[in-house]
């Protein structure tokens, strides 16, 4: 059975925090990521702080530097589990990323470092 979106996100957070190179990528970059499934309305928040990622509840989801990542839950699941190249999903319009150019590339780079794709 395929893991659910929350399970994929938890695994993603673990992978990011234990990977030896991703920390360098996150250094000095502290946005709040909001992940929103467009089909079933699920919303999750990840805070990047001190080169680590942590899941936070909706109550703590406030930041002057926020990025919104949107897509259907299957797309989000595939992207955050490394099954799909996020750059490809973004190009095809299946994944929407609302943030600066730098934010978008940083996010893409995380997948590149984690999964080499």
């Amino acid at each position: 059975m395929n893991p659910s979106l929350p399970q994929c996100l938890s695994t993603f957070v673990q992978s990011v925090n234990t990977h030896p190179s991703v920390g360098k990528l996150l250094k000095g970059w502290e946005p709040l990521l909001t992940i929103e499934a467009t089909d079933d309305g699920q919303r999750f928040h990840l805070r990047v702080q001190d080169s680590k990622v942590a899941e936070v509840g909706a109550a703590d989801a406030e930041s002057s530097h926020s990025i919104l990542v949107r897509g259907e839950s299957t797309v989000l699941r595939d992207v955050f589990s490394g099954a799909v190249n996020p750059a490809q999903a973004y190009l095809e319009g299946n994944l929407e990323v609302f943030g600066s150019d730098r934010d978008q590339i940083k996010l893409d780079a995380i997948s590149l470092v984690l999964w080499g794709m």
Partner: protein, 445 residues
């Protein structure tokens, strides 16, 4: 909401308002009477306004997507999309070449004797270094810079009109003939150059809601503002500077500044030109390098162009590649003195791209009729078809608008289009082969 809209308008207008626009205005005014040029600017702006509605619809279908690549791929498939994208990237590099010529000439006029190569190298290095270090001006500064540019251009234009005609009509070296329909069409096609880049705001929406109203509205507002700015400046230029001095003059704004305010005007307009160059070239370099990075991540562009700085998140090799290519083209344009030829070629390519974007929106209405669109172009379908078909005609007319260039613009665009088509074919075959291999090996899904 108002500040968000003004931010988008500033990005859209700031991209279009480049130093080379003054040169193209001078070039246009060199052959035809100002009132016809103002009409050509209004018509070109109206065409861009109609295209902006189609682009707004495409952006609403694919919010935050990397613009032209996503839209054209969804409508026409991978090959056509890549061919047009490569032509578009060539256009960006050529536009940087024209921009380099203008700014080099501007600096040469205020600091005589300074080596051109050194000037263009320093400016390009400054912009490339700023980009590579990930230094982005805050949005408020971007807004302030665009407002300053618009205000300065308007101020000079209005002053020139207000000051009364210093060049009596009878003394204009070039007669103010009414243009033929073909001449007017060529002027409209060339005037498209003045609006290039307004569409680069589409990937920059702060959220999905921005695409329902603010992004389409911002493009329209930017185009309307630019029509006024260019129209006023063109009328002022014609009133104060002899037409004979405009046609081959890449820095008519400096000439006008000197006529109006002497050295203060020259230096002031030189600063404005530098500011225009830095904002538009910086944004162009950023946008084009992100497109190259995206292509590299797809496996289309060489893998080395996907290398990023871990600290800043900047695709450093893509920035260096686009900057280097633009620098080389700037040197070629400067050394050969072909900024007008290059300018009309750039305008013609943009006409073709705008036509393709309108066709893309029309095609997607058929092929993805049920897809969600938070904004739909209010332009009637028949009018959209008409405008989409008119753009290639404007492109052809623009290509013949510089008589002394002969068939060179046609040769240049033909070469670039052929190169783009071949490169796209190569890329499709390469990525297709790679997908086949990885699927066989089970390496990637």
């Amino acid at each position: 909401m108002r500040s968000e809209l003004s931010g988008y308008v500033a990005i859209s207008a700031g991209m279009a308002l480049a130093a080379s626009c003054y040169a193209m205005l001078g070039s246009l005014l060199g052959g035809i009477d100002a009132k016809w040029i103002v009409l050509a600017i209004v018509i070109a702006g109206a065409f861009c306004g109609l295209v902006s509605a189609s682009i707004g619809e495409l952006a609403a279908m694919f919010p935050s997507a990397p613009g032209i690549r996503t839209y054209l791929r969804a409508a026409f498939g991978n090959y056509s999309s890549l061919a047009i994208l490569f032509l578009y990237l060539a256009m960006v590099a050529l536009a940087a070449g024209v921009e380099g010529t203008v700014v080099t000439t501007v600096l040469g006029s205020v600091v005589p004797g300074v080596p051109k190569v050194l000037v263009v190298l320093s400016l390009f290095l400054l912009v490339i270094a700023t980009n590579t270090l990930g230094l982005e001006p805050p949005r408020t500064l971007q807004l302030a810079m665009t407002v300053l540019l618009v205000a300065a251009t308007l101020f000079v234009g209005v002053s020139a009109i207000w000051a009364g005609r210093s060049v009596p009509e009878l003394h204009h070296a070039v007669p103010a003939n009414a243009p033929s329909l073909l001449d007017l069409a060529a002027a409209v096609g060339t005037a498209i150059f003045l609006f290039i880049g307004f569409e680069w705001v589409t990937p920059m929406g702060r959220g999905p809601k921005a695409y329902a109203r603010l992004i389409p509205l911002s493009m329209l507002a930017a185009i309307a503002g630019l029509i006024v700015v260019y129209g006023v400046f063109a009328a002022g230029l014609d009133r104060q500077v002899d037409r004979g001095l405009l046609a081959g003059n890449p820095i008519p704004q400096i000439t006008l500044g000197a006529v109006l305010y002497g050295d203060t005007g020259r230096y002031g307009l030189a600063l404005v030109s530098l500011l225009a160059m830095l904002t538009s070239f910086n944004a162009g370099l950023m946008g084009a390098s992100r497109l190259i990075y995206g292509l590299a991540r797809e496996g289309v562009a060489p893998a080395w162009t996907a290398r990023i700085s871990l600290r800043t998140g900047v695709p450093i090799n893509a920035v260096a590649a686009v900057g280097g290519l633009s620098f080389m083209l700037a040197l070629i344009v400067i050394q050969t003195g072909t900024y007008r030829l290059t300018g009309v070629t750039v305008a013609a390519i943009e006409c073709l791209v705008y036509g393709a974007l309108m066709l893309a929106a029309l095609r997607l209405r058929r092929t993805r009729a049920a897809a969600a669109r938070s904004f739909r172009s209010p332009v009637p379908i028949a009018a959209q078809w008409l405008i989409a078909c008119a753009f290639p005609l404007l492109a052809v007319c623009a290509l013949f608008s510089v008589p002394e260039a002969g068939f060179w613009p046609i040769a240049l665009i033909g070469t670039l289009a052929t190169g783009a088509a071949l490169l796209a074919l190569l890329s499709v075959n390469r990525t297709g082969r790679r997908t086949l291999l990885t699927t066989k090996e089970g390496a990637t899904p």
